[in-house]
């Protein structure tokens, strides 16, 4: 078991290196660099920047060096000092800008994951046990609907309903009074008060696909001979269901973290932009638009790392609950 975890951890290293390189290449891809964008912005307000100033800016930010050197420096600073570089646009260290937003992203993603599981598990089991009943058809239809509605559209519709029917603004994770306030118990309460809307929105599509996974798993397990054995032992249907097929159907369910998480993170970025949540999404979009590369790079790197860790955790969990993997 320990060896399994160790080997998985060792595997993380090349993945992380590739991810970091990928993030760096991605943000290097756009033609021009931050200075170009900067000059263009200034030009829009009729200020002219001469070539010398531009060159000076470039050398100050190290943009005149070869890419691989820039990458090595960037990664070196992150690993050794936790320094993600400087945001050109905000003129402050990237690490000052991202951590709170990443933390809130994590809170949002994790809450959504829990909500998704909480909803999908019982419904999926119900749908499988009552196969071809009206309830099953209803659940199936709703989950197809959930799969089909893009999360940002759902967010928009909810915003519309809130605005038109209730005259309320939906958006953000905090009431105005708490946005700038330091962390306190009441701020956390306020967060929870706001959190459920994006969580529900995000959970809809995740739940839909997970219900289908759980239903299929359960149907597979329900037809296995060990269920008949348990029945022949005299177990009641409910106890039997919980102890055997549900327990076994959980294993593939746990491995869904690995693909659910990237989807959730992706979804949360768009929804966050629509609902203007103080998470990674809106700032990532903004930084990409303005080619604020260190900021964008930090977000892409951290978000990808987060999902890689997520799939690592799901692998370990799977090994914990399944003796067939554990005792391999």
């Amino acid at each position: 078991m320990l060896r399994f975890i160790l080997s998985r951890l060792v595997w993380m290293v090349p993945s992380l290196v590739v991810v970091s390189f990928l993030s760096f290449v991605l943000i290097q891809l756009p033609p021009g660099d931050y200075v170009t964008t900067y000059i263009a912005t200034l030009a829009a307000s009729n200020e002219v920047v001469d070539q010398n100033t531009a060159a000076e800016l470039r050398s100050r930010f190290g943009l005149d060096q070869p890419m691989i050197v820039q990458y090595a420096k960037w990664l070196g600073n992150i690993v050794t000092r936790g320094d993600f570089g400087l945001s050109f646009e905000w003129q402050q260290p990237v690490s000052d800008l991202i951590w709170e937003r990443m933390a809130l992203t994590l809170v949002l993603t994790f809450s959504t994951l829990l909500a998704t599981w909480g909803i999908a598990l019982p419904i999926g089991v119900f749908s499988a046990v009552k196969k071809y009943s009206i309830g099953d058809y209803l659940v199936t239809f709703l989950s197809f609907l959930g799969l089909a509605i893009p999360s940002f559209l759902l967010a928009l519709v909810l915003m519309y309903i809130a605005a038109v029917e209730f005259g309320q603004e939906v958006g953000g994770l905090f009431s105005e009074a708490y946005v700038q306030a330091p962390w306190s118990f009441y701020k956390v309460l306020d967060l929870l008060h706001h959190l459920w809307i994006p969580v529900i929105i995000l959970a809809v599509s995740g739940t839909a696909s997970l219900i289908r996974v759980m239903r299929a798993n359960m149907l597979d397990e329900l037809s296995k001979p060990y269920v008949t054995t348990a029945r022949a032992k005299g177990l009641s249907e409910f106890r039997l269901l919980v102890k055997y097929p549900m327990r076994l159907a959980l294993n593939p369910f746990i491995s869904t973290i690995a693909w659910l998480l990237p989807n959730l993170v992706s979804g949360s970025i768009i929804v966050a932009i629509v609902l203007s949540l103080p998470t990674a999404g809106p700032l990532l979009l903004q930084s990409l638009m303005s080619q604020d590369m260190y900021l964008a790079g930090a977000f892409v790197l951290l978000i990808c790392t987060l999902t890689l860790i997520g799939s690592l955790i799901s692998d370990i969990l799977l090994a914990l609950v399944d003796p067939r993997i554990r005792l391999e």
């Binding site: 060990y226 054995t229 029945r231 005299g234 177990l235 009641s236 076994l248 294993n251 003796p323 005792l327």
Partner: protein, 575 residues
């Protein structure tokens, strides 16, 4: 069918009766399907008596397994009991009709596992892979006997000891995938015995096991039955097993009881036509085929067509290889059938596949003597030679479903070797295919059909037609009849022998079944753990085996004669 009229409601002999545990009358179980109902069990009646063993025997689709499941009301959906009664007589004199109980209710659940226990065919999939053995056994104890955890655990260890599982106090905490097939079935038996049931239903419990393991399990069940005085209802398709263990026998066919009586009567004085046919086809495989007895002796002077020397085939890591074929040497003479017999894992299939170089052997030679006398080593043959050789050495596969491409018509399947070798095409190909189908006893007009339109036996004939399409000299037949019901088996073997005489074929006939080997083969090689332990003329190996393993193997095979029960006298081989 005239058999219906002779269907007996109760046993028609006057033997002394033991107390009845379960009395089944007119049991009928239906499976609704889209275009009607399948009458899986159709008016079946029998008694199960204390201390006696009732065997329910029949071929696939006879409804024997559904009958067993109906008793505990655990028939798979959408099957359901339509009518009939199943009266359980309790030791205290009370009675209950199981057919009247709600299948999900408390009463039937109190019967399941406590008064009537059941074991199943697939010991791997019938136990949960993620719960320990102890957990699954203790569950029944805690449920029915209300034991504390510690008591249940102690009893569980005791049960595992009873079924002869080594180190029972450690085995309790192990998972099923850590046990071998035979050990898993012992766990199943321990579980079923947990609450001292008055009746045990065993649904093909030894079908997935090797004969030597089967003998151990049958022994165990018999011993436990004597100790506990249970009634046993044993479902099987193997007449040998029936003869070995049964007191009474029910023969089923298409959901109906064909004949019901004491085992001796069924085997030695069957009344029903179907029973006669069944017993007949079983007995037929107990001796040499008639056409082989009539054939003049072969000319032994001819040089062998195939000569295998020191063949090695390893799998897995080079450091610690699994030697699937280990130093095997064999000869196959023209026109002869060489049988390869062995249990699962003996390497017989791998060896057969090496002959056509489906696998690349790690060492040794396979010398093939072509018609013109040229000798080719198949192990070292280049691509072009291999292609030539594969036209002359052909294969018949075990699985009649998997070996035919379901997306091609029979004409395409049988014609494929002719087409890809550029032998025939167009109209000529069509005629050749029609002729080949005729040779294997299939209607040539069926060649536009797809494999799904054929039964298992017919599909195997298609496989034979494909094998003989290229006028081969040698055919490797890998368990060619083991997927078929016993009544079809001898037909298939007869067909193969007719073709052999007509086309001058040599066969390498791989099987785990001594019966078909004896019926068909001239010589036989016995394989055990990758090695050939004994080679000789079939009669000599079967009647007077020299090697201890062969002796153990042969003595473990149940004979279809209740008057000659031999298994308790069997040898065990610990090599």
């Amino acid at each position: 069918m005239s058999a219906l009229e002779t269907t007996t409601r109760t046993r028609d002999d006057g033997a002394a009766r033991s107390p009845v545990v379960l009395q089944v009358r007119d049991l009928t179980t239906h499976f609704p399907v889209r275009n009607g109902v399948v009458k899986a069990v159709d008016g079946v009646s029998f008694d199960v008596e204390r201390g006696r063993t009732l065997c329910v025997v029949g071929e696939s689709g006879s409804g024997k397994s559904v009958t067993a499941r109906s008793i505990l009301q655990i028939v798979d959906a959408p099957g359901r009991i339509v009518s009939g009664s199943m009266v359980l007589h309790r030791p205290d004199g009370s009675k209950v009709d199981l057919a009247k109980l709600n299948p999900r209710g408390r009463e039937i659940r109190a019967v399941r596992g406590a008064e009537i226990a059941m074991i199943f065919q697939e010991p791997m999939s019938s136990l949960s892979p993620v719960h320990t053995v102890g957990d699954q056994i203790m569950e029944a104890l805690r449920l029915h006997l209300d034991m504390s955890k510690a008591e249940a655990r102690a009893r569980c260890v005791e049960l595992l000891r009873q079924v002869e599982i080594p180190n029972p106090d450690k085995a309790v905490d192990r998972y099923t995938f850590e046990f071998s097939g035979g050990m898993r079935q012992r766990v199943m038996i321990a579980m079923s015995l947990a609450c001292n049931p008055s009746m045990l239903i065993a649904d093909e419990p030894t079908t997935a096991l090797d004969v030597t393991t089967q003998a151990e399990i049958l022994d165990l069940i018999r011993r436990l039955q004597q100790q506990h005085g249970m009634a046993v209802m044993f479902i099987t398709h193997d007449m040998g097993v029936v003869a070995e263990i049964a007191d009474d026998v029910i023969v089923m066919y298409h959901g109906k009881v064909m004949e019901y009586g004491p085992v001796d009567q069924i085997f030695h004085a069957p009344k029903n036509d179907y029973t006669k046919m069944l017993i007949g086809s079983v007995l037929k495989l107990e001796q040499k085929a008639e056409i082989r007895l009539k054939r003049p002796p072969r000319d032994n002077a001819a040089p062998p067509v195939l000569e295998v020397r020191n063949l090695e085939m390893h799998f897995g890591k080079p450091g610690a290889p699994l030697k699937a074929v280990d130093d095997v040497s064999l000869k196959v003479f023209p026109g002869e059938t060489l049988g390869i017999v062995g249990e699962s894992g003996s390497g017989k299939t791998t060896m057969g596949r090496c002959l056509l170089r489906v696998y690349d052997p790690n060492g040794g030679e396979i010398d093939y003597r072509r018609a013109d006398g040229e000798v080719v080593d198949i192990v070292k043959a280049d691509k072009a030679t291999l292609k030539q050789v594969r036209r002359e050495i052909r294969m018949i596969f075990q699985d009649p479903v998997g070996s035919l491409n379901p997306r091609m018509t029979v004409a395409q399947i049988v014609g494929e070797p002719l087409l890809v070798n550029g032998i025939a095409s167009g109209k000529e190909l069509d005629e050749r295919v029609a002729d080949l189908l005729k040779q294997v006893g299939l209607e040539p007009a069926w060649r536009e059909r797809y494999p799904h339109a054929f039964s298992g036996g017919q599909r195997q004939r298609i496989g034979i037609a494909r094998a003989i399409a290229l006028n081969p000299r040698v055919i490797v037949a890998d368990e060619a009849t083991s997927a078929l019901d016993v009544s079809l088996r001898s037909q298939m073997l007869d067909l193969m022998m007719n073709l052999q005489d007509k086309l001058g074929l040599s066969y390498v006939f791989i099987s785990h079944d001594i019966g078909v080997i004896r019926y068909m083969c001239d010589r036989v090689a016995v394989m055990y753990r990758g090695r050939v332990v004994e080679t000789g003329a079939t009669e000599q190996v079967c009647d007077a085996p020299a090697h201890a393993y062969t002796q153990a193997l042969l003595s473990a095979i149940p004979r279809p004669d209740p008057r000659a029960r031999t298994m308790h006298k069997r040898h065990r081989y610990a090599g």
